[in-house]
């Protein structure tokens, strides 16, 4: 069936059948298309697309890699990506947290990477603790290695029962969803970087890999410089997770680091566009943890900022999360509220005492800024639309 399906899907140039149709024709398509390949899955709330790109670059040292660049992270996107490269012996797939159990069962991954877990789109994805429990069950069935962030309590709980876990200290984690233990409910106590539950034995595992500022330390104790082109602490965390996963697949660490170091733009994220005398850097942030990290990145300079908010289904229709983002950090900066839900953002900024104006169209908002550097931070559909328009 697998070859028949691939043949069907490969019918001439432009004759590709979409993943959704293929799954309808053959519900086992994902299992067939992954069988015989060495598969790595990447999931978590933030950093999936970047880490998947880093890992696929690193694994390409071993041979051709099938991967779903650009965030099509549900089973139809996986089928499309895999059937584009039927002969690639490796597959590196970004997986939506909600679909992870299904994809995991179908693909029997050699490596599963769990980056972080925090609140995101509560009306669509559901609450963090529900996701943690479903990932916990799925990861216990992973035949290969689980690479997990031990600085994230939810991740640790989800990964701990897996057969083999490689723990990575990333130095990043959103603690606001984890005051109480996901296992027993008692309070979690922090002591420096170490954390432990006061009621049961859930505690920070001893890390195999450690993320430093600009470097990583391998399980063998070697220190390797990162020198990434992508900004921010969270991209260093993404890089170390990717290197640990590549290492589990057999990529030598120096080769892995060299390859992912070259990543400079991930599906348009972090790229700078030139427009009407402005150099606008486009940053994607989808939820409180992501926004919090991005506000740290833009803190490095005092450039004006355009913040763009939509609330389509893919963004989550409930914008309550805006109140979990520390916008107060933008006080004193020139700010424009933009996007289809600019008014919701304007109310949040008003109460954060951040002076701002409202320009709903993000390109016009960039034009309205003084010439020079502008930071543009947008949530999912706002970013997607802005990126497409900027490319025209």
């Amino acid at each position: 069936m697998s070859s028949k399906l691939s043949q069907k899907m490969g019918l001439g140039a432009g004759g590709m059948i979409g993943g959704r149709v293929a799954l309808r024709l053959d519900p086992q398509a994902l299992a067939h298309l992954t069988s015989g390949r060495s598969v790595a899955l990447v999931t978590g709330t933030n950093g999936k697309t970047t880490s998947t790109m880093m890992l696929s670059r690193a694994v390409s040292h071993l041979g051709p890699v099938a991967t779903n660049h650009g965030g099509a992270n549900m089973p139809d996107g996986h089928v499309t990506a895999l059937s584009k490269q039927p002969d690639a012996p490796y597959a590196v797939l970004e997986v939506d947290e909600g679909y992870f159990p299904e994809v995991c069962r179908a693909s029997a991954p050699a490596v599963a990477v769990l980056l972080n877990l925090s609140r995101d789109q509560l009306d669509r994805v559901g609450e963090v603790r529900t996701i943690e429990k479903s990932l916990r069950t799925a990861l216990a069935g992973v035949p290969g290695v689980v690479v997990a962030n031990c600085d994230d309590i939810m991740v640790t709980s989800a990964a701990r029962d897996a057969r083999r876990v490689v723990w990575v200290a990333t130095g990043t984690g959103w603690h606001n969803d984890a005051a109480s233990c996901p296992r027993c409910g008692d309070p979690i106590r922090w002591q420096g970087e170490h954390w432990q539950c006061t009621g049961c034995d859930l505690a920070r595992p001893r890390p195999d890999w450690v993320t430093g500022d600009g470097f990583l330390i391998t399980p063998r104790g070697e220190k390797v410089g990162l020198a990434l082109r992508l900004p921010g602490k969270f991209n260093q965390a993404n890089a170390v997770m990717a290197v640990a996963a590549a290492d589990a697949l057999g990529v030598p660490v120096p080769e892995a680091v060299e390859r992912l170091r070259a990543v400079s733009n991930v599906a348009g994220r972090y790229r700078t566009i030139q427009r009407s005398g402005h150099r606008a850097r486009l940053l994607l942030s989808k939820n409180p943890a992501g926004w919090s990290e991005t506000l740290t990145v833009v803190r490095e300079a005092d450039h004006p900022a355009v913040l763009v908010i939509n609330a389509h289904e893919a963004d989550g229709r409930d914008l309550s999360w805006l109140w979990d983002v520390p916008f107060e950090r933008l006080r004193g900066r020139q700010v424009i509220a933009s996007g289809e839900r600019a008014t919701d953002l304007a109310v949040r900024l008003t109460y954060a005492e951040v002076e701002h104006t409202i320009v709903p169209d993000p390109l016009q908002a960039i034009d309205a800024m003084p010439p020079g550097a502008v930071e543009v931070i947008a949530n999912y559909t706002a970013f997607r639309d802005l990126n497409a328009r900027a490319a025209q």
Partner: protein, 238 residues
Amino acid sequence: MNRPQSRVSIALVLPDLLGTYGDFGNAVVLEKRMTWRGIPAEIVSVNFGEPVPDSCDIYVVGGGEDTAQTLAVRHLREHPGMQRAAARGAVVLGVCAGIQIFGESFTRADQVTHAGLGLIDSTSHAGGTRAIGEVVATPADGLFEGLLTGFENHQGRTVLGPSARPLAHVKVGTGNDGSVEGAVQGRILCTYLHGPVLPRNPQLADLLIEWATGTRLAPLDLPAVTALRAERAKAAGV
């Protein structure tokens, strides 16, 4: 509590357990709407594992997941500062999980019934479907001007007893049961609405502040808030 000279303290109760839906914003709105009018105010965060003070003027309780809700009830029973304050007339706002745990009991989807804090004459149980979406409702008994708007995301359904009055009558959305929304009993006020509810409904925020300070507030016009209210009511088809 007529103490305009001293600082009005707003207790943000267990934000680390019941802070899932940005309800922290309710405390910020209360604080800013007072300080901008020259009434000194402060937010006091009371985290899981810490005793709950009984000396605050306003208590704000947010929404949370099932496990968090059970833990919150346990914590608030062990440290009954908020209940003591409510008994002496402090103002209490309970959102979503708040309305469920403030009642006499709440029954989950697994049919297990948990005792509530008994602050409100109500019982809650799990409904068949999850209510998710924009809500528009008319305030009951002329409690405040204009419409009550917000975003709901809950499975609970709530039935009020004779001592509790509804906060509002539902025009769009579900609220407690598809007909009424929220509960008011003395100075305890509950709602299913997020958004958070107070940024979206400044008249409700001011009502709570007037209850707490005993002073009549000067109007406070925030153009962004007025625009947002119009936008959300229109989006809900009202």
